[in-house]
């Protein structure tokens, strides 16, 4: 397959930069696969997993909300608030975060804002665990 350039940018740094063959992301309207020379395309990404094919092998990454932007020449930029490859995820930390968020959600006294934050954190923790266990 023809390779094309992908950059994954997070607030702290350029997380990934290199040639890949295929990327599959879940956008807010459904899964989308992108190959080389895709038409210019911009979509919003929710919390989810992303599959990238590098030299014939898939790598899985857990991402937080952001956008994907396919440029004029097919070069793709993924802009997300956080991104982790599945083999780099700290499973025990994600489990602790999941438990803390669940406790927060079951507490009836929390404010609406705290409830939303806890829900977001729970989603993120579950997403990390999903990505880490992806076969």
């Amino acid at each position: 397959m023809t390779p094309f350039n992908l950059r994954i940018i997070t607030p702290d740094k350029v997380f990934f930069k290199g040639e890949i063959e295929k990327i599959i992301v879940r956008t807010t309207v459904g899964d989308k696969g992108i190959l080389a020379k895709h038409e210019p395309y911009i979509a919003a990404l929710p919390i989810g997993t992303m599959k990238i094919m590098i030299k014939g092998n898939y790598r899985i990454a857990a991402i937080s909300p952001g956008t994907i932007n396919v440029g004029e020449n097919g070069d793709t930029v993924v802009i997300v608030q956080s991104c982790e490859f599945s083999d780099e995820i700290d499973v025990s930390r994600a489990k602790i975060a999941k438990k803390a968020a669940e406790e927060r959600l079951s507490d009836e006294g929390v404010s609406i804002v705290d409830h939303d934050i806890a829900e977001f954190k729970l989603k993120r923790a579950l997403n990390r665990l999903d990505a880490a266990n992806y076969k």
Binding site: P11, D12, I42, A44, N69, E72, V77
Partner: protein, 287 residues
């Protein structure tokens, strides 16, 4: 008399010397922190640039008017403002904090006091003391930027703006022009003004999922967050740089002072010896 004077001068030399040790140490600390701060400031730029590119591409495709871009129809003297002020946690950094505060104060002259989001202990103290409405303050954020806090600042600003509690949001920070020049700057945040990227260029059709407006509205909060983050990291680099320069000149001044005092000390010592010889000679002659 002479010996008493010598003691005083000696004590001064010692105290200036120990001050110099401190300023020298602070200079070294600031220059090593500066290197890290500069790297951080550069690392947070790509995220901001990538997002502003998306926004400008959307604006190029079609005219977007959303809650974030709409200008409020209010008299400028009566507009309710929110200022995000990014200053330091510590002093002894030359004019770093005071230049910024001067700019902030000048910016609302003759208008109602703005609401303030204060980043840095100095900003919180300055505006707290002067009776401003400090909505929230973040102390110790600049040294170790977490994007959760930047998101918090952005959300606070966006919510106040959306609810109509404020009509304008402006951010004040210190721009890192070069290692010699840091400039206090203001930057309008809301309502957003996005310029079309390369106006006049033919428009390449871009497919949007779900729609240009939806993507635009989703990007804006994170865009503002990264705006805050860039400003915080850049200000921090400026702070370290300003401190390094201030401490460098303080050390230079101390050195100069020690030189002058040593000269005075030697002169007093010489005077004392001359006096003693005179006394001995006078005494010998009297015999």
């Amino acid at each position: 008399m002479a010996s008493g004077n010598m003691k005083v001068i000696k004590r001064r030399i010692k105290s200036v010397g120990s001050t110099m040790q401190i300023t020298k140490a602070m200079e070294l600390v600031a220059s090593s922190k500066l290197r890290r701060a500069k790297k951080k400031a550069n690392d947070s730029k790509p995220f901001f640039n990538a997002q502003s590119l998306i926004l400008s591409e959307i604006v190029q495709t079609k005219h977007i008017e959303t809650v974030f871009t709409r200008k409020r129809e209010v008299d400028s003297a009566e507009a309710k403002r929110l200022f995000i002020v990014i200053a330091g946690d510590r002093g002894l950094a030359g004019g770093y904090n005071s230049n910024l505060f001067k700019l902030v104060v000048a910016a609302h002259e003759g208008q109602e006091l703005p609401k303030i989001i204060a980043v840095g202990k100095k900003a919180a103290e300055f505006f707290g003391k002067r009776g401003y409405d400090v909505v929230s303050k973040y102390i110790g954020l600049a040294e170790n930027v977490k994007n959760a806090y930047c998101a918090d600042i952005a959300n606070t600003a966006v919510n106040l703006f959306k609810n109509g509690d404020v009509d304008e949001v402006t951010m004040f920070y210190t721009e890192f022009v070069s290692s010699m020049v840091q400039k206090a700057t203001d930057m309008p945040v809301l309502p957003l003004e996005i310029k079309a990227h390369e106006p006049g260029k033919h428009i390449i059709p871009i497919t949007y999922d779900p729609s240009p407006e939806a993507v635009f509205n989703r990007v804006v909060p994170t865009f503002i967050m990264s705006m805050v983050q860039c400003a915080v990291t850049e200000s921090y680099a400026s702070e370290q740089c300003a401190r390094r320069i201030a401490m460098e000149s303080a050390s230079d001044n101390a050195e100069e002072m020690i030189d002058k005092l040593s000269l005075l000390y030697n002169r007093a010592r010489q005077e004392k010896i001359t006096n003693e010889i005179n006394e001995i000679v006078g005494g010998a002659n009297a015999l």
